[in-house]
Symmetry: none
Subunit: 216 residues, 4 copies
DNA sequence: GATGAATGAGTATTCATTCAT
DNA sequence: GATGAATGAATACTCATTCAT
């Protein structure tokens, strides 16, 4: 049992862990996940040793950052689900909000390294599946509402979603941030298009994402 | 003077250069642009020494791969421009075709390293601007044709375009490939949406891309 | 003053000390004297802090383990001396028994590190000298009895003795244990051989061991 | 195929390899097999990189040193076999010579680390078996000649042999060297003792050494 | 020119030891 | 006193780049 590290750690240790995670998230976002561990430690205000005590190696750290962010997305998604009565609006909000909210985690993914690390991690997958389950609800609901084109699945959304978020790196400029939001807008229009261009293949469902493993 | 390497090199040297470029493109696509130089040399069937004679350092190689790909995109774009009478159709074709055609260059960009290298390289920029000029024509034409929503600019398209292509990495599975095409489809619908959701900010033009430097 | 730690410590502190010593002895025997201090602490069921309170550094611990074992050997040797009337039999018993009894201390020596630590430590040396004194008695007695070849000294025995014991590491198998006993047997026959092959050099005495410092 | 590295390497590479091996052998003998790789490289007059190119990690180097030495022992053993008509004399010579000849390899074994590395390595085992085969011949022959006690096997000899050699570390002093020779002498007398003390267990044969893996 | 060997700076990681809780 | 968290120096190992063959 990994137990809940949130509750198990001594107060100071806990604080360090959080600082490391926060520092890593920021730095990964700015410089990718290959930055020297020492730089992360320094940014977190701890020695490398402490970093390594908490995260046995870089992969563990990348994983932890990813998990942390996925968790936030999930919490968000659930909050939205609870608040919105319209599935379409819920989906829309999730996509739009996440752009601003979740830059970081996706950023961690702008790297082969990170992708490889995350793929195949069962915990990451579990979390992802929970998120997808929520999205799937949104999709079905929005399609029933007649606002979402019927020829897309949660998988399509997830890929689109991941694709976009993945870009948002360091919001280095106003243009970049604006661009992100505009992309989402265009995509949402594309999603609600009726009739739209005929899409090739078939709707991609949450299940389809597993073997692909290249996305989300 | 770098002169035109295409014409300056002896036949065998030329062959080596091409092999290295091809190998690098493939390997970058699969494993990112941080792979050991030796691996690239091996894949190209030459010694590292030869690689270094041709490309003074990794950056030069990354640049060369990028240039090579941009060139292909440009050639494509121009061919399409010559063939299609409808600007919208031309734009559509370019976006769709490029998914399959240009994986590699974008792939080279799935990395901070590559981004940094490419940014600020005047030759790369020049080439990019030529591509953007063509796209800008398409955009204006398509808007005149009344098919493209008027609130987008070539910059929007470029970012969208780059965003998507960037995902397509190693098409590890059928689903992944299908997903790519579907994303493009949805996006195209989003682009032609009339009326669409109101987009935030203002149209992003080709010029806007320079300072942002985070995209395209 | 280190005083006699046996009497100075509080009951629980004493227990800790003993546990650490026992754990260290075992672990040194199995994995050599370079194992992480933390591993020893864990095996002893205490925190590293406690270990360090008791033994200021690794060297101190190695020394303590060695001392502890030398003491046991000395006690044994004296007990044997008291019980046996024949010096040769006493010598024989000491050698044979020690194989089973004293694995550990020798084991601690299967390492440059340990050797270096122990060499030059005056307490260790004192203890060793006491043991050698007893052995020297045995040797002289056995030679007077006419059973031990006259061309060997206590030093020869000590080296032989150390040599053999040093091998016995983790008695991973029955064969290994049997082998140890057989070696001793052969060696004892070698020692009693009359006439034996002529030995090179001259008898090595207890005194000779000091400068050599590589043995015993 | 590891091919014969002796023949495959470029002249300069070959020279470096040999220097590294020689340096490692010496340093291992003096300071054990845990010395910093850099120290070995420096002693060999090469950069660490070169060391690592030739031997992918420390284990590989330890293995190589061991192999090199085993080979020398085997060559010696065969030369002796060819020259001596008496098996007993051959055995004796092998044991005596090896003390002087093979210090190093055994030295490499004065360490848990080394033991663990070597155990289970098929090439090392193969070489060891070849040596044992020669010894086995000597043993049988010497017993037929009536000079070697009949209750010992090649395994006994090997263990005794290994045991002794293992001690001889850096011949830090004349006494140490003399001691080594004297030990061998005593052991040889022990081996030829007739009648000797009854040995416990049964003769240890070459085959017995495999599972034990703790010796030779 | 081509090759691949050598170099050594750059990083990851470990672990002895100290110190706050 | 006990504990285990934090520190950072010591080392292993990798890989870009240079250079002898």
């Amino acid at each position: 049992m990994t137990a809940d590290p949130e509750t198990t750690l001594r107060a100071d240790a806990r604080r360090n862990r959080d600082q490391i995670l926060a520092a890593a998230k920021t730095i990964f976002a700015v410089s990718g996940p290959e930055v020297p561990m020492e730089e992360i430690a320094r940014a977190a205000g701890v020695g490398v040793g402490t970093l390594y005590r908490r995260f046995p190696d870089r992969d563990a750290l990348v994983r932890a950052v990813a998990m942390d962010n996925f968790e936030r997305v999930l919490i968000d998604a659930r909050a939205i689900a609870a608040e919105e009565t319209s599935s379409w609006r819920a989906l829309e909000r999730l996509l739009r909000q996440s752009v601003e909210l979740q830059l970081s985690i996706q950023l961690a993914m702008v790297s082969h390294r990170a992708l490889v690390i995350l793929k195949g991690d069962p915990e990451v997958r579990r979390l992802r599946d929970e998120i997808l389950a929520v999205v799937e609800d949104f999709v079905r609901g929005a399609q029933a509402e007649g606002v979402l084109r019927p020829d897309v699945g949660a998988g399509d959304i997830a890929i689109l979603f991941a694709t976009l978020l993945r870009q948002m790196r360091a919001k280095s400029s106003d243009v970049a941030e604006m661009a992100a939001r505009r992309c989402v807008g265009i995509m949402i229009d594309g999603l609600s298009a009726r009739p739209g261009t005929e899409l090739p293949g078939r709707p991609i469902m949450a299940d389809d994402l597993d073997p692909a493993a290249d996305h989300s």
